[in-house]
């Protein structure tokens, strides 16, 4: 009896399980706080699900059952079906495009018998598995451009479909896979180039074109001046500098305006402008402002659990989903927020630690994928609530209310635990 029990949980990484449970419990408590009005009969509501926290408890139950099923599954199942799951995920996304339902302005929900489900959440898992499968395959030589393009396509195709569903926030998360690819050997210079590209697009939108052109010209002149010796030695260097200069000029003067007037639709342009703060969207600023007031009013120690006035009286919108961090910030203050973030950092670092101890590339890539997805969600979500990022509706992993999200993150983590338990095997 004792021996079979030991077998059942053998190899499980308890720190990750502990951190997972801690976050989920904090989440349910926060959702409860966000809905608590002071005179509710708590027990009745838990039995009779009409509130988000009791519904979240049900989702947790379902997630734990899923976790158990995953734990009992053979590791090879995940490597064997990775590509199949990816294809299935893509099909599901396309299906949503056709028969999906609009919820809060995004066309990304499937309704099956009264249950609402967002496949865009689940496809993160499928994509992660497929990417791990591809990068661990023996034919893949990740130093080759072709392999890198295929890997990028694997990550970006679902993102593209999700953008068509008007769920730009979730699509953004798929860029987290570039962090995984960086770990697997994507040259660091690419990260720098991607970063410069984003800066270039943003500056093209925010800065007057003539000014930008003058700035480019000055920078180019300075670069030429400082590297004049090198240019004397190597003529091609000058051509490279002038080429980059010409490209930047062309990009800013023609390509960006063309895309914005001819390719993108009007409402898309407006949404981007709102995001950049170029056009003021009063609703978006209202949400951020209310959330900053709630968090800011928490002070150092916080107002105490269930004592926050801002979250309690519905001042903060979407407070059990996207703005759940407000409840933590207001009730537990700076102290509580730092501890909360520390739990997340601990989880992320533990996952990276687990990743690095793997023998099989599949598990390592998969683990880095899990860490990157959680990190992107965490960074974007919290930055949004404290006014560092525009309002992009993505949930805080394991904490925000929402069944699709909780189930997806549970599956992501428990598949990792299963793979890690079998780290002596070489999985492909």
């Amino acid at each position: 009896m004792n021996r079979s029990q030991a077998k059942l949980t053998q190899g499980i990484d308890w720190p990750i399980v502990g951190l997972y449970l801690a976050l989920v419990i904090i989440g349910i408590m926060s959702i409860f706080a966000a809905e608590y009005r002071g005179d509710d009969n708590v027990w009745q509501d838990i039995i009779h699900p009409g509130k988000n926290y009791s519904r979240q408890l049900i989702w947790l139950g379902i997630s734990l059952v899923l976790a158990a099923v995953i734990w009992l599954t053979d590791s090879k199942f995940f490597t064997a079906t990775a590509n199949l799951m990816y294809a299935g995920g893509l099909l599901l996304l396309l299906l949503v495009l056709g028969i999906g339902k609009d919820v809060k302005g995004s066309h990304s929900w499937l309704v099956i018998g009264g249950f609402q489900f967002q496949p865009a959440e689940l496809t993160k898992l499928c994509t992660n598995l497929a990417l791990a499968k591809y990068l661990s395959s023996q034919e893949t030589d990740f130093t080759k451009l072709r392999s890198r393009l295929i890997a990028a396509a694997l990550a970006l195709i679902p993102a593209g479909i999700i953008i068509l569903q008007d769920e730009t926030g979730l699509a953004l998360v798929y860029f987290s896979f570039f962090l995984v690819m960086f770990r697997e050997g994507l040259p660091g210079v690419l990260l720098v180039i991607a970063f410069s590209g984003i800066v270039l697009v943003l500056s093209a939108l925010l800065v007057d074109r003539t000014v930008l052109f003058i700035i480019f010209t000055v920078i180019t002149a300075l670069v030429i001046y400082f590297s004049r010796r090198e240019i004397k030695r190597k003529r091609s260097r000058l051509a490279l500098i002038l080429g980059v200069y010409a490209f930047c000029g062309l990009f800013v003067m023609f390509i960006v305006p063309f895309v914005f007037t001819k390719v993108l639709k009007d409402y898309q342009v407006r949404r981007i402008e709102v995001m950049l703060g170029k056009e003021n969207d009063p609703k978006a600023t209202y949400n951020t402002r209310q959330s900053m007031i709630a968090i800011g009013s928490g002070g150092f120690w916080g107002k105490g659990y269930l004592k926050g006035t801002q979250t309690r009286y519905d001042f903060v919108p979407e407070q059990s989903t996207d703005f759940i961090f407000c409840t933590i910030g207001e009730d537990f203050g700076f102290f509580g927020s730092v501890i909360f973030l520390a739990i997340f950092v601990a989880l992320l670092f533990r996952i990276i630690f687990v990743a690095e101890r793997q023998r099989s590339t599949f598990t390592r890539v998969y683990a880095y994928g899990v860490a990157s997805i959680i990190f992107f969600h965490l960074a974007i979500n919290i930055a949004m609530t404290i006014g560092l990022a525009p309002v992009i509706g993505i949930p805080l992993p394991l904490v925000s209310y929402g069944g699709s999200s909780l189930m997806t993150f549970t599956m992501l983590i428990f598949i990792l635990l299963r793979l890690d338990a079998d780290r002596q095997m070489v999985l492909r």
Partner: protein
Amino acid sequence: MSVFNQPRKRVIQMIILGMVILIITRLFFLQIVEKKYAKLADANAVLRKVIYPSRGIIYDRQNRSILGNDVLYDLVVTPASVKNIDTAYLCNILKIDTEEFRKRIITAIVKNGRVRQSVFAPLLAPEVFGQLQESMYLFSPGFELVPRQIRSYPYAAAANILGYIAEISPAMLKDTANYSSYNSGDYLGFTGLEKTYESVLMGQRGIQYLIKDNLNRPQGSYENGEFDSAAIAGKNLRLSLDVELQVLGEKLMKGKSGSIVAIDPQTGGILAMVSGPSFDPNLLTGPYRSANFSKLYTDTTKPLFNRAIQATYPPGSTFKPMIALVGLDEGVITPSFGYPCGGAYYGCSRPIKCEHHDAGHAANLRLALSHSCNSYFSHVYRLSVDAGKFGGIKVGGMQKWADYMNSFGFGHKIGIDIPSEGRGLVPDKKYYDARYKGSWNSCTSVFLGIGQGELLLTPLQMANAMCIVANRGSFYIPHFVASIDNDNTHLLDKYKEKHDVAHISDTAYSAVIHGMTDVVESGTGRIAQIEGITIGGKTGTAENYGIVNGVRTKLKNHAVFVAFAPAEKARIAIAVIVENSGFGAKYAAPIASLMMEKYLKDSISTKRQPLLKTVMETVTIDAAMLAKSHLDSLNNNAVIKKKTP
């Protein structure tokens, strides 16, 4: 391998730590360094005030405001601050009992909580407001008067077009997919332009933070308004409607049931749309809205029913120009085609009577139109649907004819920019197959040729058909809004697009237009003449059947008149229907003519003033129905004083 990759792991860890440190730094400033936020959250120190945006104003084509905003007051309550007040006195002013007072306070607490404001008594009537304002110091700080804009209609016209706004319902609030930007207590457009253009008219609510003193009195803005969000006013609409023409139309339709639709054929902009009898839109604003609404809703004359777009009628003889166009385009007739009518059409088993029997009254299309010869158009209709090139009526003929009708805008919604437009009915092959189980021919539907039978059109469709004739084959979708101030929407795009109808030749149109000008010059519509202007018109008398006590009974005919002027380059196309008033020329034609004169010449000549007076005084609504209606007394008692134009 592991050694080689070590730095990359470090880089990723650094990125994570960097981001978290950035967040913690920001939190440090938000939660510890800045004290502003803590104060903002403290309801005792800072007053949070919602600023309602002013709703967009609607102007007519001469930039006269026909729908603006007035201010009324709400009494709002903050339950937590209600202490030691003279409840009985407040109840006395509001004319409620203490039980009701308690109930409202509890409702407020349930809805919004104790520290947030809730509306205690909405939109106070002016006399109540006056009394309350004097004694407000007795009830503060728990109670407060908050200004709230309500809609006002200075011309008291165009009620069914402009529509009304009302408080959002709990069911709508739950529908977060469509109404997520509304809060409880918000008002939104329920009908008419108020509904269609809700997204531009509504504006954006703002929030203002005010410092309070210990007695809860606002002491000025907090942190120089750094946290305030300004309310953004709704955008104004500019209509193609001419409000003076609209007012005239409503006066002309007084005591009559029916409608007038006048359109500018060059743009598709609607100049006037009257549904008679009409009501004063001010009845549906302010504190008496719900009481008035139920009165209007139950009134026997159905004033809330916009007959101009919702009611459907057989067009009668006014339909003959369209029959002619189809015949000409299919090539089954030419403008010189004649028919030997001797007083009736004998082509089908039952003869169809014609008003004329002298030889040669239908010797060509122009004569047949001006004499409105029933035989001629019954014959042309049958020629069109039976045409051999479509393989006969059951193969392609009927469907082809129905296609023509659809391209004229009949049988489907045209797409006007106010809701609840009717479709009308164009019978096609499927319709007759179902109805007659396959055994039918062109005689079954021969009455379509004279605009009777199964065919049903809305007045809007009839007016739009006149635009098509006047423009010789093109139209713009009829619409009210010519422009939106600072427009960045695509709401108006579909109204800027020109639609070409079938591809009927110019000569076909010329023949029809000539026939129609003859109608007014020398034919059945002479009463519509206006000095110095050539008018193309067509009278019609729509036979009207209803079910009375379970038996299909012939009721009094509807008078119909359609016209456009000036015939050379039309600036106005019009359709008038006066229900149950008999022959088309009697009331419908004079109403149309007076409307066109007013629009084209800006005033009605002295010579025609007596006609104007007679028409306005005529009552055609059934006396029994009128006796039960309270519409007139309602209109005369509208709360908001009208500004006389």
